[in-house]
């Protein structure tokens, strides 16, 4: 067993960390306050390949695999959850769906510019009446000559207002249900997809989430992603990798909280000595560190499983579940250790606290993750359970 990172991965981490410290961190506060994506940060990330980290170089990517992608998300998760979200939705679900199930021609046409960061991606599954219950989507796709006409609306779509290329799931045969009747498409904003309401959010305010409206949007038949009728599988498979890397982003948040807590406990004095000498503070910090290590092991072992071609649905669900809880808990503890300073807008913990909460909800709520994990566990003993 070898738990060390290969040298090129360590150096890739150094690159991302320096970029994170020099470019992303200084912009995080203003993006949150303005409730706007800092496109300058995204463009600078694109210029050094950070919008295509896991994809092979022949598709314009960095070729750093799942491990490199987790490293990217972990380092971004430390400095700005909004940026991690914008880039995560672009790579991890938007472009990833095309990488996993696209034809060679689709990869050349869409994956290459996405990986190079010339275009921004999104992934549109959720609808007003289909959140956790994704199989009950209503957006319709009707065949019309050499194209499909899409009608319906998607909500809470990360990068909705900014994306050029949008993977969409729609019903092609209402009689067949989710397995057989639902198809994935590669949409382009310029096909006529309209941006509806842009959400006002509690956290990750430096990322953009919106409604996308489809009114007779014509998508060429050659843009069907994966086999007709099997789009649900493409989308669920994509969410598996998304959950792993979301876990990596939460690892970054959890580590940052630990670092801030230690730094502050060393210097803040109360009753004559630094609060680091108080056992209740030490215990919080010890728990934070132990949970960070557990999460780190899980995240990178799961990344390794992906690269080995092993099944990892259960582990990806665990990354997301454990990660979102660990980040929220650690930030909660760090805020407690910082006292009033933790609650102040002048200090990043307040933003981190608001930002962390979303990880318990999107890419499948934590309840849904438990269902995913449990159904895998029961499958292993021959029992099939349904949500």
């Amino acid at each position: 067993m070898d738990f060390t990172f290969p040298r090129e991965m360590e150096k890739f981490r150094k690159l991302v960390r320096e970029f994170g410290e020099e470019v992303v961190r200084p912009a995080a506060k203003a993006a949150d306050e303005k409730h706007e994506v800092d496109m300058d940060v995204i463009r600078q990330a694109a210029a050094i390949g950070l919008l295509g980290v896991p994809f092979p170089q022949k598709y314009g990517g960095v070729g750093a695999g799942e491990t490199g992608y987790c490293i990217l998300m972990e380092e971004l998760g430390k400095v700005c959850t909004s940026t991690a979200t914008t880039i995560g939705a672009h790579i991890g679900i938007g472009a990833m769906s095309i990488y996993l199930d696209g034809t060679e021609a689709q990869k050349q046409k869409y994956l290459v510019p996405l990986a190079r960061g010339e275009k921004l991606g999104a992934f549109a599954l959720t609808e007003p009446n289909a959140g956790s219950d994704a199989a009950s989507i209503k957006t319709k796709a009707v065949r019309d000559g050499d194209a499909y006409l899409l009608n319906g609306s998607k909500i809470y779509i990360t990068n909705g207002p900014l994306a050029d290329v949008i993977s969409v799931l729609a019903v092609t045969d209402p009689t067949l249900g989710a397995h057989g009747g639902v198809t994935a498409f590669i949409g382009e904003k310029q096909f006529g997809i309209q941006v509806g309401t842009v959400e006002k959010k509690m956290g990750i305010r430096g990322s953009a989430t919106s409604e996308l409206i489809f009114e007779d949007v014509r998508i060429p038949a050659e843009n069907v992603l994966g086999p007709v009728g099997l789009g649900f599988i493409t989308f669920m498979k994509t969410l598996d990798t998304g959950r792993l890397t979301l876990g990596a982003a939460t690892l970054g948040g959890a580590e940052e909280a630990l670092r801030i807590a230690i730094d502050y406990a060393r210097v803040r004095e109360a009753f004559g000595k630094p609060i680091a000498h108080k056992q209740s503070i030490q215990f919080m910090i010890a728990d934070m560190a132990a949970e960070v290590e557990a999460l780190r092991s899980l995240v990178y072992r799961t990344a390794w499983m992906v690269e080995q071609g092993m099944p990892y649905t259960k582990e990806a669900g665990m990354c997301k579940l454990l990660g979102s809880q660990t980040a929220s808990r650690n930030i909660h503890r760090a805020l407690q250790i910082l006292g009033a300073l933790g609650y102040s807008r002048d200090f990043p913990v307040e933003r981190m606290f608001r930002d962390a909460r979303i990880a318990e909800i999107f890419e499948g709520t934590n309840e849904i993750q438990r269902i995913v994990i449990a159904s895998q566990l029961f499958k292993e003993v021959g029992i099939r359970i349904r949500p």
């Binding site: 890739f12 320096e18 050094i48 390949g49 960095v62 750093a64």
Partner: protein
């Protein structure tokens, strides 16, 4: 056009701890980094290459692990990398280092310009550029920014003391790049992955460089650090401005630090 850039690996001075009691530097927590000034020298060279074409070659003297700074330089865009590494360099002083680097530069051949950082962040000696210029008998332009190359000449703004002077010299020349000349680029992620996977660094030892015993013999001997004693906490004065001023005057007079009559 071939520019050689000398790059050095060193312990991050920001992470070195000074142990007063043992009169030594504790480097256990310090990371090995590329001298930040050398990053700027490389950036300046890449910039020149982008303007006039040619090649940028990086050169380092160090332990085998110093290949790290060369691989990072390749990721940033350098075309080739050489490492002078030999057990016999372990006691190398500035003179031995200069001999080795000069030999490597001659062996690389067809070099039009040599770029170095203004000084190294650890030793802050700042003498390698001048030494190499003397050995190679090339002209020397120190602390240069806005470096330009035009038909056989090199020019730039030299920031010495408080003035900047525009200097021009025929090639070949040695340049140290001003420590605020530019902002080094981030390498592309794919370039980092490829550079470290491929590991294309050519290693030369003292024999490859035809170094004589004389050139390998250090002229200076390192005998340890002499660090400033720890400073004691001063006395804190309290009270109104007038009271503090009176107290301060009394203290200074008490220690005979104020002239005039008591």
């Amino acid at each position: 056009m071939r520019i050689v850039v000398c790059v050095k690996q060193l312990y991050d001075p920001k992470m070195a701890r000074v142990s007063q009691s043992r009169q030594s530097l504790d480097l256990r927590a310090a990371e090995l980094i590329m001298n930040p000034m050398d990053l700027q020298a490389l950036e300046e060279a890449l910039h020149v290459r982008e303007a006039v074409g040619g090649e940028v070659t990086v050169l380092s003297l160090g332990k085998p692990e110093a290949d790290d700074v060369l691989l990072w330089s390749l990721a940033m865009g350098a075309d080739a990398a050489y490492l002078a590494s030999d057990e016999r360099f372990s006691e190398a002083d500035a003179g031995v280092t200069a001999h080795a680097l000069a030999a490597a530069i001659r062996r690389i051949g067809d070099v039009d310009a040599l770029f170095l950082g203004e000084y190294a962040a650890d030793s802050a000696g700042g003498q390698m550029g001048a030494r190499l210029a003397a050995m190679l008998r090339w002209s020397f332009l120190p602390a240069l920014a806005q470096v330009f190359l035009t038909d056989g000449h090199l020019s730039g703004l030299s920031y010495l003391e408080t003035t900047a002077r525009r200097l021009l010299t025929p090639l070949p020349a040695v340049v140290t790049v001003y420590h605020r000349a530019n902002k080094p680029r981030f390498p592309h992620g794919a370039a980092v992955i490829n550079a470290y996977r491929e590991g294309k660094v050519i290693v030369w030892d003292a024999d490859d460089l035809d170094m004589t015993l004389e050139e390998l013999a250090p002229q200076t001997l390192f005998r340890g650090y002499s660090l400033l004693p720890e400073r004691e906490l001063g006395t804190r004065l309290d009270g109104s401005a007038a009271e503090m001023a009176t107290d301060l005057a009394a203290m200074l007079q008490g220690r005979r630090l104020l002239g005039g009559e008591a």
